[in-house]
Structure formats: structure tokens, C-alpha cells
């Protein structure tokens, strides 16, 4: 063992530590999975890893629900008139599909599930800053979900996930239960964001300066800022909507002197930044995976880190681009269009940085990397069609058509969900200690890629041709596009089933993963798999950055600080 000198930046201490180089043990002894067992221990745990797993389970459950609804919707659309369900049922299904996927899947998927698991590990911390608050966030999420289920059992919801007034104030469905559910859910989001911000500021291991912070954490940091600042506006909006319905206060209802366009402003002031709550964490995963599987330093570290923050801030100024046809003022429309283009630039910069990272790398096409390639292709299409929709004259024609449906599926599903799959496959060995079957995983990725494009590419064309969204019936000329799209959705469904199958199988009969199966330089890979109950045997001292692949693996080791030195 040799020694190295490290300045413990996070402690604000100028003193240089002399640390021994340290190699983590390969065989886990007391992992987080074996430390405490039983249902009660799980339900009351404050361990960020277990809470992450509980979120993962919940998000998977909701994804299954939202996915089944999607398949039912696509099946109904096989024929122009009624195929097998009534119009009202269809309207409820698309509303629930949207609300579940946005609020219960996409928003919590990466930060709350994967983020909870890896964030403290990437910081070399034992846990998040407020472990009990973390558990509380999870239960608030569950309570929000229960309210939504009450609505389901009680008249359903048929307003569309956007709850536009005045339809939502006069609809006979259970609007109040869902808005209260969303209101409660928002607190979960705010608390998780607050917790992450505090953790990143205060709990970085010695040696992790802001310039050595993994890009995944820069992304989660930017996301947390949006969550904390934007979610309260959603809370106010749905509360006003609830009061409008229950008490008739006349804020949004024109019959009472209110303004329905005001609701749209309120709603999108949250819901546009929410798109970035979904997509910015995805950028973090892509940065991690692409360096690990090209074994090369990330290209443009600061450009990627700061563009996440730039997106977070500009993202607050573009909500009005959802309202070009709404009747908002001409000045607002022009300004919102202009600002929308500004937010596209940092995103484009990231894509090019990732591609440049591949240059002269040592590229290994393992499953997580395949998802990154799928992401780069699909998300770029999402971005370009976003440019189309930001351009005023084009948006007027395309607004509220299937072109928009295709666009946001390319961004949200192609961006968030594909990178979630990348992250899930990437960290799966760390989380479970087991390897999945690589061949089956590649077949799964191929099915997802094919199914995705067969589902959504035709929607761009039929949208351009004028097919409006949220239509139960449609005119005959769109039949072939709808049928192709439906077939694509079935392929996607099979892909997801295959993924569920081989991941479940790996838990039972998967090969042991070892602490660092991908040869990553990330700090989370310097612990055992599955991780020790306290993440690391000793407080690590970080000598090398997370992307220092130019240094040979043998030299790439952690420092081992004596605990009283490090704190």
C-alpha cells in the first residue's frame, strides 16, 4: 500500500490528509439486504438503499398499470369507431394513463428510486442528510397514490391529466380526489429535492470537490432545485381547482368571472419545469454509463454540469409554449417561443458532448451502453420535433395533434424511460449483487427500440396530417397509422415483459456480480455488491475523479482515512 495526499474539500478544511491507498473487499459480509430482515424492518427502515428499492417497486407497479392502460387505449384505436370500450371509458383510460405515468412513474423514477440508491454512495456518504424525512417522503407518495385509487374506484377521472378548466370544474368525475392526491404527492417531491440538495452540499466525502462531483449528481442537484421551486406552484394550482369545484370561488370559471387561460398558465408553470424534473436526471445516467463503457474521461465535464443548471433555470421561463393557440397575448406568445429555443441549446450541447466522449474510447456494447445509444437517437428526434413545436407557425398546425403525442413520448419515454432502463441495468449488479443474462437483455433492448419506433414514428405523420390527440373515434384516412402504432405498442409490451423476466430470474440464479463488474471509476463501485449496510467499510477519501479512466485500474484506488482524521 502506498500513500497519497488529499485535500478534504467538503469539510472546508485546508489541512491536507495523508491517506493510505485502499482496495475494497470483494466479498460482501454484512450487506444492506442481510442486515435487517422482515417486512417491519423494511417498512420502518431509514436506509436510503432500502427506500430506493421501495420506490423502485412502487414505480414498477405503477408503470405496469400505466402500461396496461396504454395497451388498452392502443387496442381501442385499432378501428376508427368503437372497438371494445365506450367513449367515456376511453377518456378515463387516457387520463389515468397520463396522470399515472407523469406523476407516479416518470417524476419519481430516476430521482426517488435510482437516485435514492446511488446518490449517497456516489458521495461516499453513509446516507442522505435527513434519513427519516426520506422515509416520510416515501409514505407521502403512498398516501398520494391512495387518493388516486379512491378516485379510480369512485367515478374515475376524465379530464385529461392537464385538468383544463372549465371542463374540470364541471366534469362529473372524481376530480377532487385526484387533485388532492397530486397535492399530497407534490410534498414527496419537494422533500426529496430538499433532502438531496442538503446531502450534496454537506455530505461529500473528503476529496470530492464540486469539480469531482459525478455528473449524475449535478443532474440530480439541478433536478432538486426545480422540484423545490416548481412543485409548490402545482400545489397552489390544484388547491385552487379544488376550491373552484367545491366552493365555486370563480377563479377559473368564466361564468363566475374567472379566466380559464389563467389555469393553463398556473398549470404549465409547474408542468413545464416538471418535464425537466423527468429528463434532467436522465442526462445524469447517460453521462455515467457512457464514460464507464467507453473507459474514457467525459468530454466537457463543466459544459455538461452547467448545462443541467442552465436547463433548470431557463426551464422556468418557457411554459407559455404550451399555449400558442390558447388565446394568450401576442407578446407572451412571441417571448415564450423565443425562450423555448434557448432551452434547446444546452440540451444539444450535451448530446454532442456525449458523442465526443466516444471518440478514441474503448467502447464495450453492454446492455446499459446499448440503451445509451438508443437514448441518443430517440431523444435527438424528440429534441428536433421540439424545435418544430417551438416554431410558432408550425406549432399552430401541430398543436394538440398526434405530432405532439409522438414528440413527448420521444422525449419522456425515449428520454426518461430509456435512460431509466440504462441506469437500472447499469446499477442492477450493484443493487442486487447479481448479473442478468446479457443476451436476453440485448434482445429486450432491441424489442424496446423497434417497438418504440413502430409505435411513435407513425404518430408524427398522422399528426402532421391533422389527427387530433385524445380522440376516441377517428376518420378512416388515419386507420393504417393507428394500426401500425398499435402493433408497435404490443412489441414494446413484449420487450418490457422480457426485461421483467430476466431481471427476476437473475435474482434467483444470476451470476455473482463482484464489486465492480464494469470496471467503473465511480465511487459507488468501490463498495461491495450488494453494498455494505453503511455503504463503505470505512469513510472513503477520494483521490481520483469519477472519470479518470486514463489512470490504470491498479492505481485507481480509494484512500482510507482514519475516521478521526476525516471528520
Amino acid at each position: 500500500m502506498s500513500t497519497a495526499e488529499v485535500t478534504p474539500a467538503s469539510t472546508g478544511n485546508k489541512k491536507t490528509l495523508k491517506v493510505k491507498r485502499f482496495k475494497p473487499s470483494e466479498s460482501p459480509k454484512n450487506t444492506y439486504l442481510t442486515d435487517e430482515k422482515g417486512l417491519w424492518a423494511w417498512m420502518t427502515t431509514v436506509d436510503h438503499k432500502k427506500i430506493g428499492i421501495m420506490y423502485l417497486g412502487s414505480v414498477t407497479f405503477f408503470f405496469l398499470l400505466g402500461g396496461i392502460l396504454a395497451l388498452l387505449l392502443r387496442t381501442e384505436l385499432l378501428t376508427p369507431a368503437k372497438t371494445f370500450i365506450e367513449a367515456d371509458t376511453y377518456n378515463q383510460f387516457f387520463t389515468l394513463h397520463g396522470a399515472i405515468m407523469v406523476f407516479f412513474v416518470l417524476i419519481p423514477s430516476i430521482p426517488a428510486a435510482l437516485g435514492n440508491f446511488v446518490l449517497p454512495m456516489q458521495l461516499g456518504a453513509k446516507d442522505v442528510a435527513f434519513p427519516r424525512l426520506n422515509l416520510a417522503s416515501f409514505y407521502i407518495y403512498v398516501i398520494g397514490a391512495i387518493f388516486t385509487f379512491i378516485a379510480l374506484a369512485n367515478n374515475g377521472l376524465d379530464t385529461g391529466w392537464t385538468f383544463y378548466t372549465p371542463y374540470s370544474t364541471e366534469s362529473s368525475s372524481s376530480v377532487i380526489w385526484v387533485t388532492l392526491g397530486v397535492f399530497i404527492l407534490g410534498f414527496s417531491s419537494i422533500l426529496t429535492g430538499t433532502n438531496f440538495i442538503a446531502t450534496i452540499h454537506k455530505l461529500r466525502a473528503p476529496g470530492i470537490t464540486w469539480g469531482k462531483l459525478p455528473l449524475n449528481l449535478w443532474a440530480l442537484y439541478a433536478t432538486s432545485i426545480i422540484q423545490v421551486l416548481a412543485t409548490p406552484v402545482l400545489a397552489i394550482t390544484v388547491l385552487l381547482l379544488t376550491m373552484e369545484r367545491a366552493l365555486g370561488i370563480g377563479i377559473f370559471d368564466p361564468a363566475l368571472g374567472g379566466d380559464p387561460v389563467l389555469f393553463q398558465h398556473f398549470f404549465w408553470f409547474y408542468s413545464h419545469p416538471a418535464v425537466y424534473i423527468m429528463i434532467v436526471p436522465a442526462f445524469g445516467i447517460i453521462s455515467e454509463v457512457i464514460t464507464t463503457f467507453s473507459k474514457k474521461h467525459i468530454f466537457g465535464y463543466w459544459a455538461i454540469a452547467l448545462s443541467s443548471l442552465a436547463i433548470a433555470f431557463i426551464g422556468f421561463l418557457v411554459w407559455g409554449h404550451h399555449m400558442f393557440t390558447s388565446g394568450q397575448s401576442a407578446v407572451a406568445t412571441t417571448v415564450f417561443s423565443f425562450l423555448t429555443f434557448l432551452v434547446g441549446i444546452p440540451t444539444g450541447i450535451k448530446i454532442l458532448n456525449w458523442v465526443a466522449t466516444l471518440y478514441k474510447g474503448s467502447i464495450e456494447m453492454k446492455t446499459p451502453m446499448i440503451y445509451v445509444f438508443i437514448f441518443l437517437f430517440i431523444f435527438s428526434i424528440g429534441g428536433f420535433t421540439g424545435i418544430m413545436l417551438g416554431a410558432l407557425a408550425a406549432d399552430i398546425h401541430l398543436h394538440d395533434t398526434y405530432y405532439v403525442v409522438a414528440h413527448f413520448h420521444y422525449v419522456m419515454m425515449g428520454g426518461t424511460l430509456i435512460s431509466f432502463l440504462a441506469g437500472l441495468h447499469y446499477w442492477w449488479p450493484k443493487i442486487t449483487g447479481k448479473m442478468y443474462n446479457e443476451f436476453q437483455a440485448k434482445v429486450g433492448a432491441a424489442l424496446i427500440f423497434i417497438g418504440f419506433n413502430v409505435t411513435f414514428l407513425p404518430q408524427f405523420i398522422m399528426g402532421s396530417q391533422g389527427m387530433p390527440r385524445r380522440y376516441y373515434n377517428y376518420i378512416d384516412q388515419f386507420t393504417v397509422f393507428h394500426q401500425t402504432s398499435t402493433i408497435g405498442s404490443y412489441i414494446l409490451g413484449v420487450g418490457f415483459l422480457l426485461i421483467a423476466f430476466y431481471l427476476a430470474k437473475s435474482l434467483m440464479s444470476g451470476e455473482k456480480a463482484g464489486s465492480n463488474p464494469w470496471g467503473s471509476r465511480g465511487l459507488e463501485w468501490q463498495s461491495t455488491s450488494p453494498p455494505d449496510f453503511h455503504n463503505f467499510d470505512h469513510t472513503p477519501v477520494v483521490i481520483n475523479g469519477p472519470y479518470d479512466y486514463h489512470k490504470p485500474m491498479e492505481e485507481f484506488q480509494l484512500g482510507l482515512a482514519n475516521d478521526h482524521d476525516a471528520h
Binding site: I345, G361, I387, H397
Partner: protein
Amino acid sequence: MGSLFDFMLPELKSPMTGASTDALMAFIHIASFIILGGVTIAMIYFAIKYKRRSDDDETPLITHNNKLEVTWSVIPLLLVFVVFGWGYKGWLNLKTVPDNAYEIQVSAYKWGWTFKYDTGAQVGNELHVPAGKPIKMVMQSEDVLHSFFVPDYRIKQDVLPNRYTYVWFQAEEPGESQVFCTEYCGTSHSDMLAKVIVHTKEDFDAWLAEQGSGSGGTPVERGENLISIQGCVTCHSVDGSDKIGPSFQGLWGSERNFESASSVTADENYIRESILDPSAKIVEGFQNQMVSYEGRLSDDDISDIIEYIKTLED
């Protein structure tokens, strides 16, 4: 330009509103395909060329390249500004109604459309218009939000309760086009369809004459009658003289200056507001004395009064 992507768009039947949109879409498509192609090819090329050969491949330390990064930030920035400007220009065109436009009143409801003509004729779900003439649709909703969308004309505008919005087009050839409602409005949203039927000028005149004048006269006649029945004329003259309130003559389209030092051009929404919420904007030199006609005048009544006021030019 853009024939490559024509298959994605329906045939353009109102070039005055749609030509700019089509050209813009073609430009974005082509630029996007070039960049997407470049990115995809680079990705695949790198993946093959720099495929991992052994477990201890060494990679160079390349952290960033300022020249490269500035280049690929500035070029897209310039490109999107072009797109913004283009989109803005096309949109101004969509918002600027030609002076000689023929006006049709539109009322949207769950789940259908009513089109009202200046003769008093009313037609449901069939919009008859003459070819080669700009048509202005002045629209309002009787209940929730709807949206008037004609893909063939590349136009779309939300239709709101208690507020007027407008949209215009000019169909060049006789024929038919599909109208969709694109703002979700409940159970039969997808059945809220209408057709635009474009006639030659002569056919249209004949069709309109055939429709008669509906009941109770033309909107202008009903409006004139209403301002008398409702007592508006007690305070507002129709000959330009000032009474307790400003005259209706010359009101339409004029610049109104208010006590609050702001001003606005008198349009449908201004007149509607003045009827329902008279204290909102007090014309310079007058007192805040009028009471609201909320509940006394229906949306149709107000539309008719506006139609009448439009005829009272200087």
C-alpha cells in the same frame, strides 16, 4: 422546397395562411435529418472503430475542446434563431386578417359548431364559404374550451367561453375540408367534426340567399332592436353626440383612451367587457355610472349588439 416531406402534410388549400408553415416545416425537417444523420453515423462509426479490444485498453485524456464546443453551440444557436424568426413571421401572417375579410360568427358547444352569417342564417357543422375570399371566423364557446382546427389551411385557434378569439383563411378552390375540435371537451370530443364547404362566389351567394335570414332578422337588426329595448340608447347616442356615455357611432375599431391613462382599440372583447363589466375601463371624460348587463344579455345578444355597432361608422 420540401417536396421530400410533403407526404406528411395534407394538401394545402389556403396558401395565404399555410405556405409559410409548410416551408418552415420542410426547413426544420431537412436541417434535423442532416444533424441527426451526422450524430447517428458518428456514434456508430465510433462504436465500431473504437471497439474495446482488451481488458486493459488505454484511453487518452481528452477533457474538453473550447473551439469545438463554441462552434457546436453557436451554429445551432444561429439556426434556431432563423427558425424562430421564420415561425414568428408565419405566425404574424396567421394573426393578421386582411381588411376585406368576410366575417362569420362561430359558436362552439358540446359537441358541435354553429356558424352564423351576416344575413342571420345559421348553419350547424357545415361552414359554407366562397372561394378566393379571406374569411374571418369570430369565435366563442357556450360551455368549455374547444379549438377550431382545419389541417388543410394550417390554422388552429382555441375557442373560449366569455371571450372572442378569431382565425382566418382563404380557400382558393371549391371543395371540402375537415374541421376538428382539438381541445379535449369530454365524451364526444372526437365526434365534434364539421366540414368547410368552399363554393364559387356565385354558388355561395345563391346558397346564402337560399338560407333566408333566420328568425328575428339579421344580427344587425336584432342588435339595433336590443339597444333600444335594453335602454342603451338612453345614455349612448348612435349619431356621434355625447350623452351620459360615449356615442356608439365611430366606436368600432377606434382607439379608446381611458381615465387610467391606458388605451385599447375597440374590438369584440372590449365591447363585451364594457357591457358586462362597465367599470373596468372608463373612457376619458366620462363618469363610472353604468351598471353591468351580466345576466340581462346573453352571449348571442352581445354578439348581435356588436354586429350592430360595427355598422355605425363615422
